[in-house]
Structure formats: structure tokens, C-alpha cells
Amino acid sequence: MNRRTFLKTAGVGSVSVAAGCTSQPEKTIYALVQAPDDTVTGKALWYASTCRECPAGCGVLARSREGRVVKVEGNPLHPINQGRLCMRGQAALQAIYHPERLDTPQLKENGEWRALSWPAAEGLLQEKTRAAAGAGAGRVRVLTEVIGESLTALFGEALDQWQSPPPLVFEPFAYEALKTANRMAFGVDGLVSYHLDQADLLVCLGADFLETWLSPVEYARQFKAMHALQANRKGFFAHIAPCQSLTAANADLWLACHPASEGAVALGLIRKALESGRGQSLPAPLRVSLTTASAPYTPEKVAHLADIPADAFDRLAARLLAAKAPLVLGTATAGSGAADVAANLAANLLNRVLDPELTRIDFAHRHRVETAAPRAEVLDFFKRLSPDTTDVLLLNNVNPVFALPGAGIAEGLGQPGLFVVSTSNFMDETTLLADLVLPVRMPLEGWDEYGGKRALISGLQPAMGSLTAAPGLGDVILRAAFGADPPFPDYQGYLQARLSAQGIVDGERQWVEFLQRGGRFDLPAAPARAPLPAEVPIAFEPVPVAAASLVLVAAPSIRFFDGRGANRPWLCEIPDPLTKVAWQTPLLAHPDTLASHALRHADVVAVRSAHGTLEAPVYETVGVRPGVLAMAIGQGHSAYGRYAQDEGVNPLGLLPPEADAVSGGPVFAAGDVLLTPTGRQMPLAHTDGSRIQHGRKIALTTPLQAAAHDDAHPPKAGLTMADFPLTLPLPEGYDPKRDAYPPHDHADYRWSMVVDLDRCIGCGACSAACYAENNIGVVGAQRILEGREMAWLRIERYLDPQDERKVIFLPMMCQHCDNAPCEAVCPVYAPHHSKEGLNNQIYNRCIGTRFCSQNCPYKVRRFNWFTWQWPRPLNLQLNPDVTARSKGVMEKCSFCIQRIKAAHGTAKNENRGIRDGEIQPACLQTCPTGALSFGNLMDSQSRVRQMVMDRRAYQVMGYLNTKPAVIYLRKVVQEI
């Protein structure tokens, strides 16, 4: 039996076991006690694949237990994400195991859905496409998300068979303005990538590179490589945008500029740079036109147009010119209007002025999302869509009805005579309008390849048995186009042959290596870039001075991306990083805006633009400019399953439906917006009890100067909150004058975690990984309102009460205190101090008095108020190494004790101790910036032991003498 057959059997086996259970599926999450040959029950198999939750294309390792994947982690060998994964990647599993995932094809007859068999559905598709091909040229059209080269090639060949044009690639976020600017300024028709880690100064005109922009996991890592404190130095990051995205919240300087004025700011910086003599090596025509175009943008004019403090702008310019390796990034993912083209162009040109060689811009490894068609093309496609010219429209994993409201997509799809086929696994808004739904295998179930950047190729392989009998998309296309005599028996063969032909994989051995490693990352890059254009047509329109009208800005969400993540319960449950609101979509507004409309926080307002209306609760924050309203994109679905339908609000309907003339891209902002109170209130399901720290020693910062220099007079140790010393959870942290009880007698290990607040960006990936690894229940909006969210690890977000635009993020999990208040008060020893220093919560022993959670000063303990449900087949995602808890039992972070135990087992088998860094709790494993470290405090050579010696080290609420084993390093702040 080869491995593939085993996987199929194992998958079917475990599925049938889980499907056979009745009311409490979690009781038998351990399947296949008698495993087939080739596997050991209880031992995971790891398969390399690629994440397809966004076009970035991070490499993943899928942990497969008894034939089903229970966890997805980053592939350490993959150059894009280097072993890390964002929360969307972690939540990909919930799509595969979604309770509303279609398990049979569906055919619409007389407005009703009828289940169809797989052969019948494929036969129908063949029949329709053949008929269309026979009826003329161009009658079969394909609209698809960004796909890899091989699948694109296959589509091309199939469409050739059908005498139709190549597929149209549709992504709601297609970076049209950035592509236009790259074309104009660099002569590159695509999306270059960047080396943020090589910069010492980063200026960003809105690009949310920590959230959704191009390749967030990669850029988060690179960002912190330049921005975190190293050798007493820090890179500087300035963000210029009307709204404080998560990226802006991590900036050292956020200039809340007027919407559409980012270009003016960049031009002002260009003017300063040219004035100070930079740009001499630029081609003369370019230098001249730059000087002319930037001349009007004096600092006073910039300050006026953008409504930013003039001195801040001056200091930024000075800093920019003093930097040795500056890098300027363009505007946000969701921004492609004329102003964005101007801003992106100005950013590109500023880069050319400051660094004519463009050393920090990578032209060889362009981002694959550049293959997405401009919005204008897609809109034009739908405008022309008619049964006269098209018979069959195949939609592959796109949701234009949601993403393009107001463009008449629904009407277009509903035209009689047009046969719409969707390959989606979910009944989303678009698929509801299809005629035939032919679900295909999801990324972890099938074969494919995807190169998120050029010069690398990332493979996808089946990592689990197929949950439904769905065929792979490639197989469907092969059979549909080539019918009885396909050139390859299946898509796997096609793929292998293609990779072989391209010289990427040469022979069986290399193929296996390709699959094991997750791809080939060392493909020859394109030759040196073409020379940069010597002349750039620059035509900037001055930004009109702020009118009194309100502007609504729609921003992609780190949780939902373009809306596809809205049906994953984890993504809904983990709150927005800045508002800490879960499940709902609030409208962010400045206190001045609210005051002028007689509104208060949590009032429900009606928002009206020229194109649509919506109702949403307001969220009062200084994280938007006065006069700007912000709302996240991604929720407000009218279909798409129980977790997405009727949850939240969709702002897309208020945006102008047309595409910008210059870039061909959409504008993600609407002007002249009207706000009307409705008189109603809506309680917001926010997980934060307070936005500020109230003078407590929780999330601390230190200025760069202090961190860089030794303290001449270290503070004298005392007993108050301010001067209580760092008391390590080791015998050395005990002082008989202060501690009534002697220290614990730990064995060889005392586990500890160090959290570097200077590296934490608040993205929440750790929280998602924890949900996935530890079978944590999702409770829903109502329960969050009641205060019952189950997150073991939460990111606390605190604002500086003196200036609420300054944000700090603090990951808070069980501190595994040496002097734990919870251990003393449980009547039955359910929180038990292990000999390795962990505070173990013993579920079977807990009788639910909840004194432990009352006594925990950190409030990290979570009680199971009910028995949380995992609607089948979500229960298949449960990790068999971790108990699923019933109601009445307390739970909390365990430092992933299952991983610690596994490491002990391995070390024992190999007759050695556990090596430093061998254990990676789930949170730490996925953190894109490496903010978390874990290790043995009793090992003087361990990383955590060195890190706790850092002068930035402190313990949250340390003065309570709990001796936490989670040590925090202060965030280092710098002013411009």
C-alpha cells in the first residue's frame, strides 16, 4: 500500500469513526487505535504544503494524526514565512472541517438545490463546456482567484480546447495603484518585494504590511528585524495615514494625515531631499520633473494639506535624510484611487531619490498577486457578461457578489442561458447564484503548486484523507477539457511532468525532496533588473483642503482578509487587535466626530453614502482622524454559513463601484458620508475591560536612551509596585524576610517564557495557534458579551492615557507562578505545581469552585460555563494530545505541556536532556516576529536565562510576590 492509499484509508477510517459518534464527539477524538502499517497510532505525520488563505503563499507543515490534519504550522524551510504563520493560516483548518462545507455537488433546478453525484456533476460540466466550445469561440470563461503557474497553465490549455481566452484572475485586493506606480517609476509591470530588514528607517504611507499587505508574515518578520532593539539600536518607523491600523499602532510616529494627502507628504519629503542635495545621480529629465512637481510642496503647504503638525514633518524629513538605509512604502492594501496612485508613485520616486540603486527593493522576487487583473477589467468583464457571448462561466474560489456590491454582479450571474459553475465548498453569496456547484478539494487535501513570489515554487500535497469525495480542481479541468483522452491521468501527473519539464524537479528523488521540503526555493532568479526609467510622467493634483464632509474608509481586516475568513469561528472569536471587538463590525469614529453628531460610544448609527447605507455601532477612538470613519472589510455576509451570515456589517456597499481611471483599481473610501443616529444602542462584544492601565505595572515601556545606556543608579529594591525587584521563580528569587514558604524543589527543568514587548506587534497569531493546539471552545458573540471567552492567551491592548494614540500590546497567558495564588486556594489540588515548575490544571480533579480564578491576579483562568460544542466535522480538528474539557472545569494555558511531554519522550529515547529551544509551545512556534521565547531557567546557558538578565526584564504585577515564570521585556519607545 503506498502512502497515498494509506492516507485515503486512514482518512476515511477516522472520518467514519468520528461520524459514528452521537452527542459528544469529543469523547472519541482518538481514532484508529489499530493503525495501518507504516504509521504508529499517536505519532503525527507532518506534510509540507502551502497556505492558500491569501496570495502571500506561506509554506506550511500540516500535522496529520491518524489521517486527518489537526494543526497547521509554518514551514521553517520556506523563505517567505520561515516557519511562522498568521492567524488566517492557523484557521485554514476550520474551512476544511466546516460544518457547512458542501459534501455533494449541487444543481439548481427551478430555484431549488438538488444534490448530484460527483460523476454526474463532472459529466454535466463536460457536456456544457463541450457544447459551448462547439457553439463558437470564447464561450467558456473562467474567473479565478490567484492560482499557481501550473494550474494557470492547465486552465490555459483547457480554455484553448474550448477556444476561449485565458482565465481572468480576480482578487478584491489587486494593488492596482501600486502596480501603476511601479510601472511608472520603475518600469516594472508588477509588484516588487522589499527588504524591510535591511532598512534603518521605514516610512510608510499607509501600507498595512503587518496585516494584509502583500506578504504580512514575511514583512512582519522583516520589520521586527529592523525595528526591535538590537545592540542598543532600533530602526525607526513612521506611518502616515488617516487611520491607525495595526501597522500604524506599531509605528514610532503616526501622522494622522488627511485622507488622500499621503502623496502630498511624500512630495514634501522629495522636495526636502532634493533641496538637501540628494538625487544627483538620478537621470536629469527625472530630476528636473521631480523638482518641478515637488516645488509647491513646502513644509507649510504639506502641513496644511495633510493637516499634520509642521514640526513633526520637519523632524521626519531630517531623520529621513540622516538615515543610512531608508525605505519608503506606499499606501494600504485597500486603496487604489487616484490619490493612491499619486502616493505610491511619490513613494517610489522618493525611494529613487534617497537610494538610486534601490538596494532594498527586490525586483527578482515579485509577489504573485501581481497576476490579479485590475478591478476595471473585472468590472468590464461582468458588464459584458451575457448569454449571447458566453455559455459557461466557471468561478473558482471567488466571491464577487460580496466584494463588488453595486456592480450588478448578481444580475449578471442570474441571466438565463448563462450556465454558472462554482467550485466553492461553501454556499457564499456568489455560489448561491450559480447553476452548478462542483466543490473541489481544499488546499490541504490535494495536489498543486503555488509560488508566492517569483524564483520559488511551493508545493501542495494531500496531507489528510479527503473529507468529502470531492475531486481536485486540476483533475476536474483535465477531465472536462480532455474527456476520454487526457494527456495525463490526473493533475498530479500533470504537475509532476510540468515541473520536470521546467527542470525544477529532475527524477523521483528530487520529486520526493520537493514534497518533503515543501517546494524549491532556490530557482534561478530573473537576470538583473532592467534600467529604471529616465523620465517619469508626474502629474499630481493638489489635495483639496478638507471639506466638512465625512469620509468612510474601508480597510481589510487581519482576521477576515477580503471576507473569506468570516466563516471561520476562530477568526470571528479572536477580537480585532485594536478595538478588541469580536464577532461585530463597529464603525470607528473620533470623539470630535461623535460629539458633533451628538453620538456616544456604542450608539447605533446609520451611515449613508451616495452608493448605499448601513447601520453599525460606533466605537469611539482617537485611532482615526476627526472627520474620518473607519470600518473593517470582511463581515456582513448574507450567506456563507452560520458563523458568517448576518454577523457584522459590510462597508463595501457604500464605496463607489467604479474603478479609478488611472489605476483601474477601486477606491476604498467614500466621501460626503452622512451619519444619522438611530436612537438605538448595541452592546459591543469587546474583550477588554479597560483601555488603559490605570497606573499599574503591566505593560511597561522604556525610552531608547535608557535602554541603550547603563543605569547609573539602579532603583533600590523595595516592596511597592514600583520598586519590587525581579524575583525569578527559582530559589534565588526567595528571600526569607519576604517569603513565608521555602522555594520549590524543581527537578532538572524550570520552564519559563520570556515575552519581548518590543517585538510583539499584537497580530494575534499566537492566540489562534493556541485555540488550534489546545481544543479551546469558541463561545460566540453573546457569550463574549457575558464575559465568557475562552482564550488561554490573549493580547491585551493598552493605550497611553496621556496620548491614546500610543498603543502597547501585551500577550497575557498563565504566568506559571512559583508562588501561585491559585494553588493555595483550591480545595482539591486541581491546580498543581509540577516538579518542573508548571502550574498544571488537572481537569479530572477540578470540581469547579472557581476560587482559583478569583484568586488569580492575572485573570488568565477560564472556566467552562457550558460544554462547548464542535459541530461536526469541526471536532475532527481537535488535537488528540489534549483533553477536551467538559462543563464545570477550569482550564488555562499549560505551556503546551503535551509538547513538553513529547520532548521528554524523545530526549529519553535518545538518552539525553532536552535541548534549549527544542520545545516550542504553539504560540511561540507561530509568532511571526519571534516575540516569545521558552526554555529552562535552571540551565544557565539557555536563551531565556540570558534574556531575564536583560535590564528591560520585569514581571507583571511582580510586587504581589507571585514570582511569575513569564518574564516580560519592556517595549523600547523612541520619539522622532
Partner: protein, 438 residues
């Protein structure tokens, strides 16, 4: 008192054991219905989960614990009256001692339900007992909840025995007058009391020893209950004043409950000559004292919070006064410290209507005191991100109503089936001042 004779005492009290009016059974039925409601709510909670209440993170303890402390507190006053005042030879307590001790027993019983009700996995509660098991697991005696188990069970045992032993002569009196089934039952439970001199000697000696045994329990049991909170690290709980503060508060609320029970009792059973206004007046005077102690405790807490300069402590107390639960706080302060000062007026403390009304208010205030202490401290403790609010739900109220119904149900059954005033002790007081032998 001089109009009373042995005969009139017996007659007045034994009359109460006659066949009750239909109205009595109606009230008992309603109370039984309330108990069933509470039981149904509890069963529902067991099957569905504690989540049917309003508890959450951070406020994981709700009104179940409030009710627990409330009922335990009420119990203490009964023991104060029947045990401590007996040791002090305060004869004025004799008319109310029996009912007060009964109140204690039933209040402890009612209170004892709540630790079970609030457990997440009540079917595993036996883990708290040190029974021999294969894994050699012991319960954690360092936990205040284990102290509670010991304290409450001790208190229940001692109080029940004290109550029963004290009743023996009266049970014999009833036996002597009873007929039929009642005679058989009372023969059994009066344990062969014949009234011989030896038996009286043992009785008074035993009663004295029980009183001496129960006296320290008045202080210790509620101190232990207060340590459920004081031994926690939560700001607003973690303070050494809790033991005396809670004991004083317990006696305060218990005395008020004594008034609430005695006033209708004496009216319905025509006990006016036995439980005179002077007795009630003495209770009211004691309430002034306990109210002032409680007020002093509040003032101390606030003063120390201010004096400490500890930002967290200051915030907790500021939150109590002006935060989300300020209504409960001000009810607490007014009802517990200001209202009892009205008893300084002789007119008020001798007026039955005022006594009854104010006693109800004091108990409302004492309930809110436990609510304020338990809920507000945890709602805002150390980590502002974790702050949250709590509001009880219908299920919690249902169980609370069930507990009140249980207490009054038991009390109502008691007053019609057992002598609610201690005949023997009243007869004792008749001889006060007169020379007597031995």
C-alpha cells in the same frame, strides 16, 4: 412578667401547637412551591452548566456565595443569643432563645446548600473529603474552602445538638399533654425525660457546656468564612479586618432577622406577655452596637485604602462608592450604619412597626454588603484588561428564592410542631430576684 404563672406559660406556648388554620397550610404550600422552584433551577444548572447564571470572567463568584455568607451570618446571631447571652446570664434573652437557636440551625442548613449549588461539578464534591483512595490524594487543607467545610459542619453539629438538648424538657412537657401519634413521636424524641432533679442538673450542666462550646464558634465560624475572601489576594478582600468585620456584620444581620421572625411570631401566637417589647428593645439596642461596629469597619477600610497610597486599593474603594455598583454600596451604608442609629430613639425602638420595618431594611443592607464585597472587588482587580461586570440571572434568583423559601418553610413547620419558646427557661426567669434553693 408578674402576671405569668407556670400554668399560663405552658398554656400560651402549648396552644401554638394546636391544629393550624387553613391559611397556615396555604403559606406552607407556597413556600414548598418556592423550594421546588429552587430545586428545579438547580437541576437545570447541573444539567446545562454554571453558565445559566451570570458569573463570568472576572466575576466567577456570584450571588450563590453572597447568599452563603448571608445565611451563615444570620445563623451566628442565634448562637449569640442562645449561647453567649446565656453565659452572661442575660435573662431577657430567654423568651427568644429557642427561636433564635432554631433560626441558627435552619440558617446553617440553608447556607450549607450554597457551596454545593455554586460548584461546577457538584457530582465530584466528595473529592473534598479525605477518603482513602488509590492515588493517595488528599484534599488541600491550606484552602479556605476546606476550612469552611470543617467550620460549617462543626457549627451545624454543635448548633443542632445544642438546640435539641435544650429542647428536651419542653419536648417532655408536650409529650405529657399530647395524645395519639403526637404522643408517640414526642415520647421518642424527649428521650425519657422525667424531670427528676438529677436530670435537671445534667441538663443545666450540659446546656452550659454547649453554650460554652458554641460561643467560640460564633467568632470562629464567620471568621473562617471571611477568610474565604481575606486569604485571597484580591484587593478589597485581602485585609485583616475581615474576621471581626464579618462577625460583627453577621451578628448585626442575625439580630435583625430575629426581629423579623419574632415580631410576627409574637403577634400570631399571642406571645406578647412573654416576648415583651422590652426584649425586642434589648435586641434593638444590641443592633445599635453591631451597626456601629460595622460602620467603623467600613470607615477603617476606606481610611486604610486612602492611607495606603496603593493605587489598586484606592481604585477598588473608589469603584465601590462611585462605580457601576454604587447603588448597592449606598444601600449597604445607609441600611447598615445609618438606619440602626434610629434605634437611639426610644419611641422607635419600642414601636413594633418600626422595629419590623427597620429589621427588614437592615437585612437588605447586609445582603448588599456581601454583594458589594464579593462582586465589586473582583469586577475590578489587578489587570484592567480583564475588568468586567456581573448581573445575576433568573436561575440564580430562582435558587435564591428557593433558599429563602426553604428557611421559612422549615421555620414555619417548626413553630407549629415544636415549642417555639423555651418554657423551661421562661419559668426560670419568673424566679429571678426571688430567693431559690440550690
Amino acid at each position: 412578667m408578674s402576671e405569668l404563672t407556670y400554668a399560663t406559660i405552658d398554656q400560651t406556648i402549648l396552644q401554638t401547637l394546636e391544629k393550624p388554620r387553613p391559611g397556615y397550610w396555604l403559606i406552607v404550600a407556597v413556600l414548598a412551591g418556592g423550594i421546588l422552584l429552587g430545586a428545579a433551577c438547580w437541576l437545570y444548572q447541573i444539567f446545562v452548566g454554571i453558565g445559566v447564571g451570570g458569573q463570568n470572567n472576572p466575576v466567577a463568584w456570584g450571588i450563590y456565595l453572597v447568599n452563603f455568607v448571608f445565611w451563615v451570618g444570620i445563623a451566628h446571631s442565634g448562637t449569640l443569643i442562645s449561647a453567649i447571652l446565656h453565659l452572661f446570664r442575660a435573662g431577657w434573652r430567654n423568651p427568644i432563645a429557642r427561636a433564635a437557636e432554631t433560626m441558627t440551625v435552619f440558617a446553617v442548613l440553608t447556607a450549607g446548600l450554597f457551596p454545593f449549588v455554586h460548584l461546577g461539578r457538584v457530582w465530584a464534591v466528595y473529592y473534598m473529603l479525605p477518603y482513602p483512595n488509590q492515588r493517595t490524594l488528599w484534599p488541600n487543607f491550606q484552602s479556605p474552602l476546606m476550612f469552611d467545610v470543617v467550620a460549617i459542619s462543626t457549627y451545624l453539629t454543635v448548633s443542632s445538638l445544642f438546640w435539641y438538648t435544650g429542647m428536651l424538657p419542653d419536648l417532655a412537657t408536650v409529650r405529657d399533654r399530647a395524645t395519639g401519634l403526637r404522643k408517640k413521636i414526642f415520647t421518642l424524641i424527649s428521650l425519657g425525660w422525667t424531670g427528676k432533679h438529677e436530670q435537671w442538673r445534667h441538663y443545666t450542666r450540659g446546656y452550659l457546656f454547649f453554650a460554652a462550646l458554641a460561643t467560640p464558634l460564633v467568632i470562629s465560624v464567620h471568621s473562617v468564612v471571611s477568610w474565604d475572601f481575606a486569604l485571597g489576594v484580591v484587593p478589597g478582600w485581602h485585609t485583616t479586618i475581615f474576621a471581626p468585620y464579618f462577625v460583627a456584620g453577621a451578628i448585626h444581620s442575625g439580630l435583625a432577622m430575629v426581629l423579623t421572625l419574632m415580631i410576627p411570631l409574637r403577634r400570631i401566637f399571642n406571645y406578647e406577655k412573654i416576648i415583651t417589647v422590652a426584649v425586642l428593645e434589648n435586641v434593638a439596642k444590641t443592633i445599635i452596637l453591631t451597626g456601629m461596629i460595622v460602620g467603623f469597619a467600613y470607615a477603617t477600610e476606606f481610611f486604610i485604602a486612602w492611607y495606603s497610597f496603593n493605587t489598586i486599593e484606592i481604585e477598588v474603594f473608589r469603584y465601590r462608592m462611585f462605580g457601576d455598583y454604587r447603588v448597592g454600596f449606598w444601600i449597604m451604608v445607609v441600611c447598615n450604619t445609618l438606619i440602626p442609629l434610629l434605634f437611639f430613639s426610644k419611641k422607635i425602638r419600642t414601636s413594633i412597626g418600626w422595629l419590623f420595618g427597620l429589621s427588614l431594611l437592615i437585612n437588605v443592607g447586609m445582603w448588599f454588603e456581601r454583594f458589594v464585597i464579593i462582586i465589586t472587588s473582583v469586577a475590578r482587580d489587578f489587570i484592567p484588561h480583564a475588568w468586567g461586570l456581573y448581573a445575576p440571572t433568573a436561575i440564580e434568583f430562582g435558587i435564591m428564592i428557593g433558599s429563602f423559601c426553604l428557611f421559612f418553610f422549615l421555620f414555619l413547620l417548626f413553630v407549629k410542631h415544636l415549642p417555639s419558646v423555651s418554657m423551661a427557661e421562661i419559668k426560670e426567669t419568673l424566679h429571678e430576684g426571688a430567693p431559690h434553693a440550690g
